[in-house]
Symmetry: C2
């Protein structure tokens, strides 16, 4: 359609009515925030499509169900919120058997149990097309102010959990949403901005820069490359641009950054890496992200993650 | 797949974890009910598929957007709840232009404004398959106990709003969700059970009978046939079995039924019809619904509405 997904989202954001007093935050972050009964209620919706987000020749239906829940759980983590409940709608291919539909449900249910987020409702329909599955998840703030994309400040340290790149080699079907880590980070530090890496760090860090009106400098030698990225042809490109890492990317003050590094529990076996610093905004024509290579060269990084719309 | 959609829903209901203290009502009604901050929060999700729920050769994309919202608004009406906010996920065909995507959004937004239910979040993706659109809607009880399917009592009058049958001739793309009527009914009477007619009255009244463990007698001469049903070959069958009427079907005491008939505002131009009575449950082998024909003959009615799974 010649326009990127992000341009459409920009347009929708401008043309959606958000004056309702109960809406604290609308389209454009990982979750919307509503005020319900004095509580902050968060909501996210994600559609997964056969052939786009999963390949049934390379994974089981149970894995698809797990991934559908885990993507939304990762959004809950990105806001440092606590999952409350989920509803699921599926469009099943006509040829799918009852047993296969139950296998899909088993994967959904596994994630629901593991992360204490019960499935409370759904919609089942079928057609002569591939599988589509949509999860909408509700979450609660539970005493932690939801962390938005827009709060990064000049001088902040930029951190990331886990390892980056090569997720499509396997991790994207069985990743661990960083719910535990997000709540721990929010308890230990004042998180200024956070996002989960779904489109690749070059896109998702760019979202934080745009929403926070800052720019970013990141360092090649600090990027935590995954084994899958290292096994590929271009580990650096994989770490920057591969989609579906589902790690947390966030910014805090330098002081908080040092504290987090010191306090981070090694037995969690999840790395915590400081990858760069937030800088003042540059010219609009410039890239919001600069990568400092191992030899000291500075290179602009264009958002190059996984966009579903292609021109 | 040889099993009906309802059988799968039964199976899912049995195999979903619902012990969470915050979940008041799970899978199997028009909306799930959660306890959030001392309030009752309701949630429903619905997926609409090109070629199943709409035909782009016979409707506009704006109508598709409107219908996607209106189906969920009708679920809110069925629980006598007040819409709070919606999130929308779309799978757009690759060939769709930015202008077409905006037209779809225009229809969603029209319903959002008309029924005071802001769009607060979404997910946009694309594939080389037909359009799929999923709406998840949140609603509040706002002082009215949500009306379930399970509360019908022996002796209750069975009532229906509007007219029945022939919705696929046009109404299904531009119907009015009965939000106003539902809140008025809940204010004027003690609603024992309610559902919106999405699969046809023979299926949806059967849901109330099953959930409430009662049976129903309805009268041919009291069924409010729509002009579209009357223009067809078999108006009675259309009124009983056609899907997507999106009218309210509910039960109240005989006393409340008389009061509702007396108080119903004629200027609303929405009919209110008493179509039958709730009876004690019959044998399991019998149909839960009996139709009394104009000549006094009693005929069992099998659930025959629109099921998306076909064997």
């Amino acid at each position: 359609m010649g326009k990127s997904e992000f341009e459409l989202i920009d347009w929708i954001q401008k043309h959606s009515q958000l004056q309702d007093a109960d809406v604290e935050l609308g389209i454009g972050d990982d979750m919307a925030i509503l005020a319900v009964g004095g509580e902050k209620l968060l909501v996210t919706t994600d559609m997964l499509l056969e052939g786009v987000h999963f390949d049934l020749n390379r994974c089981t239906l149970a894995q698809v169900g797990y991934k559908a829940m885990a993507c939304s759980l990762s959004d809950c983590a990105a806001m440092a919120s606590v999952p409350l409940a989920a509803v699921v709608a599926v469009a099943l291919p006509n040829h799918m058997s009852m047993k296969e539909a139950q296998e899909l449900h088993g994967g959904l249910q596994q994630a629901a149990k593991q992360y204490h987020c019960p499935l409370v409702g759904g919609d089942t329909t079928s057609w002569d097309k591939p599988l589509a599955i949509n999860v909408t998840m509700l979450a609660r703030a539970m005493g932690v102010e939801p962390v938005r994309r827009s709060g990064a400040r000049v001088g902040d340290a930029i951190l990331v959990t886990g390892e980056l790149g090569g997720s499509l080699q396997g991790k994207h079907m069985n990743f661990t949403p960083r719910l535990r880590e997000a709540r721990a980070l929010a308890g230990l530090a004042d998180l200024h901005a956070m996002i989960d890496i779904s489109d690749g760090i070059s896109s998702d860090l760019n979202h934080i820069c745009t929403e926070s009106r800052v720019s970013a400098v990141i360092y090649e030698d600090r990027l935590p490359l995954s084994a899958a990225a290292l096994a590929g042809k271009d580990p650096l490109a994989a770490a920057l641009h591969d989609g579906e890492d589902f790690e947390l990317l966030f910014t805090v003050s330098q002081e908080d950054s040092r504290r987090l590094e010191a306090l981070w529990p090694p037995h969690w076996q999840v790395r915590l890496s400081v990858i760069g610093t937030m800088e003042p905004p540059g010219n609009e024509s410039e890239s919001a992200i600069v990568l400092v290579r191992r030899d000291g060269r500075r290179e602009p990084v264009q958002p190059g993650g996984w966009e579903h719309f292609r021109g």
